[in-house]
Symmetry: C2
Subunit: 415 residues, 2 copies
């Protein structure tokens, strides 16, 4: 038997698949998928199972006051660990991979080390962060935000869901109000393997998404007030049609995305007219515009072009348009050396790659300002996510987990 070396270690795909499918039983939905809303009874089942696996692997497990669970494998030296992290909570109709892949592939990195007997210089930590989805309690990325001090612990503990249940009380109820202080581990660096949740890798036929950062997000709600009138008796020149203004804004948003190009996206996902009748010109309309870009200056340009378009539409249609910011996050750029490492590692493994931003938010972005951080994406079939039909092929899961393993080991042997 040859001595184990870092370079020829591989993830045990059967073990990874087994963990993914087994965890998928906790909160399983009829027809596939899973409902494991943060701090629910099914979240407790999933947490118990993951904690069990962490202990089976002989890891030291801590649960902090916001319920983050962090398992540590000691290294040869007592240095800040390389951390792998994600989440196991899901949306109400979630898939088996979103978040779970990042946590369970971390456990498989440990498993591979255990199996091979290889001990890296640095400790390796695997974190499962509370309430990344934000489906039950807003904001999302709650556990990692508290860990990194972006969100105050006591503020987070006091947050209520739509039915009035409180984060702190729900943590206690399910037995996950831990005693560790959030942020008690400052990682050497941070990795998150995640399904893409978009169609790009599949469309381009690439296997590994080398994630360069997270898009900035700008959400604006526009409320348009015009004059309701009869659709037959009101000549076009005398109209102040809130529904037309809403449509014109949606078309302008699409045009602006095209003009800026690159990673700029623009979506009008909500449109509501009142009174919403065939033969009545709408009095009011409500729409939302979701703008995202990897570049803050370009995102601001998109916002500015949108504002100009909205003003011009209000003027020409004779309607009033008020706006409200629903969310605004600046783009996050991952550390170039971490991004380069993922790309090089994938290439060493003979895997095709594509550099891309993340269009969605992830726990990793909370770590990015504090330590070198990056993410690895694997293809989502049909780009489908937050859906019971979410699927990533086993060979792609394996590819991503092997890139994670090799990149983690490279960093774990650093001084």
């Amino acid at each position: 038997m040859s001595e184990p070396t870092r370079k020829n270690m591989r993830i045990d795909l059967d073990s990874l698949m087994n963990r993914l499918m087994t965890l998928g039983q906790d909160g399983a939905l009829e027809g596939g998928g899973v409902c494991r809303l943060a701090l629910s009874d099914t979240d407790k089942l999933g947490r118990d199972r993951v904690i069990g696996w962490m202990k089976e692997l002989g890891l030291t497990v801590s649960v902090d006051r916001i319920g983050n669970m962090i398992a540590v494998l000691p290294g040869k030296e007592d240095l800040p660990p390389v951390m792998i992290g994600s989440h196991i909570d899901t949306v109400a109709t979630g898939g088996l991979y979103d978040g779970n892949l990042g946590v369970l592939s971390g456990l498989e990195v440990i498993n591979s080390l255990k199996q091979s007997g290889y001990i890296p210089r640095r400790p390796i930590a695997v974190g499962a962060f509370t309430n990344e989805e934000g489906s039950r309690f807003a904001p999302d990325m709650m556990g990692s935000a508290v860990d990194r001090g972006t969100l105050d612990l006591n503020e987070a503990l006091a947050i209520k869901d739509a039915e009035g249940f409180v984060v702190g009380e729900e943590l206690s109820r399910i037995g996950y109000a831990g005693e560790a202080e959030p942020g008690h581990i400052t990682p050497h660096c941070f990795f998150e393997l995640h399904v893409e949740q978009g169609p790009v890798l599949e469309e381009e036929g690439e296997v590994i998404g080398v994630v360069t950062g997270v898009q900035g997000i700008s959400w604006t709600e526009f409320t348009i007030t015009g004059v309701s009138n009869h659709a037959g008796t009101t000549p076009m020149r005398l109209r102040h049609d809130a529904g037309y203004a809403a449509a014109a804004i949606a078309v302008a948003a699409r045009r602006i995305a095209g003009e800026i190009g690159g990673y700029q996206v623009a979506t009008v996902g909500v449109t509501e007219l009142d009174p919403n009748l065939v033969n009545v010109i709408a009095r009011t309309a409500r729409i939302t515009v979701d703008l995202r870009n990897t570049d803050e200056a370009l995102l601001q340009k998109a916002e500015s072009l949108l504002k100009a378009a909205v003003d011009e539409i209000a003027e020409s249609e004779g309607v009033t348009i008020s706006s409200r910011t629903l969310a605004r996050f600046e783009p996050v750029a991952f550390a170039p050396e971490m991004v380069d490492l993922i790309e090089a590692t994938a290439k060493d493994l003979g895997l095709s790659t594509r550099r891309m931003p993340s269009g969605a938010g992830h726990d990793a972005q909370m770590f990015a300002p504090h330590c070198p951080t990056t993410m690895i994406f694997v293809p989502s079939q049909g780009g489908i996510s937050h859906n019971i039909e979410e699927y990533t092929a086993p060979e792609h899961l394996h590819a991503g987990a092997n890139v994670l393993l090799q990149a983690v080991l490279a960093k774990a042997d650093e001084e």
Copy 2:
């Protein structure tokens, strides 16, 4: 005292206003306006009151099998009567004038004749037709459509409202399932005085709308099916956005109305997206397009341009769009000699006029194919209609009713 002559007769405005305000008490709404849905208890109250007035004026009243109430004043000769008609049913939040003005001004024409002692050659008939609004039972213009044979009597009697109540049974319940055969009177000609329900007369500062016909109507519902995806992770080039396609159709409809010009109008009154979430590209959208024109060829051109635009949008966005016709009526042209008569009569009375089509449907259009027919419009303040704030100034009501009186008398003395 001078002998009464046709030309110096005038409507008694106090009496007309008194009838309008009194009828407005039957089904009066808090804050103004009236709810007198067809064949409801309040419709019965209004009918009883109008029948009472008809009898007070010494008229012969018939109620037919669809509930149309027709009162006749004999003329010097037993010839087909000049008919004045409209309706007294309202929408759920109706005004005091829509329909009621047409019936009550007819009674005031009779009242003026009675007061003056003038007896015209032909009989004069005043009709109040069942369920013009169609708010409770579809289709609208039910009573006049049955009168003219456009809608089968038994078919109409079997129509149900949203709660399952049947026209025939409701007519019996309120005591208005009459015994006369619908259409038992074939008029010499037909007049309807109505509020404009649009803003044109007010905007232009004119008093009398000389109605040249009724616009043709084309209502189409479009159902768009795209692919729902994450608003952040789906590049613009990979989108099949049902919401964007809906907006693009609405903007195209506006453009088409502008290109055709004239009396062409286009309205997208209904827009619904699914799932209608800020950060999700809509999977499906449903919109309606209401196209109207006075000219059938131009209306067909608008439909054809819309179809081409929809096809192009479906192609370029990669979505499927199905369409369903919700309503389609050809334009109705009123008899030129009747239109000319209204214009000349208004000018004789020193009233400013404007030729215009009706953008809404009216009982008169059912008579237009059968006898010389036209309508007279008076200004609607702010163009507001189907609303408790519907208002027409008394001097405008008086002007319209005087035009009606003089035009009716001109026709009533014809051989």
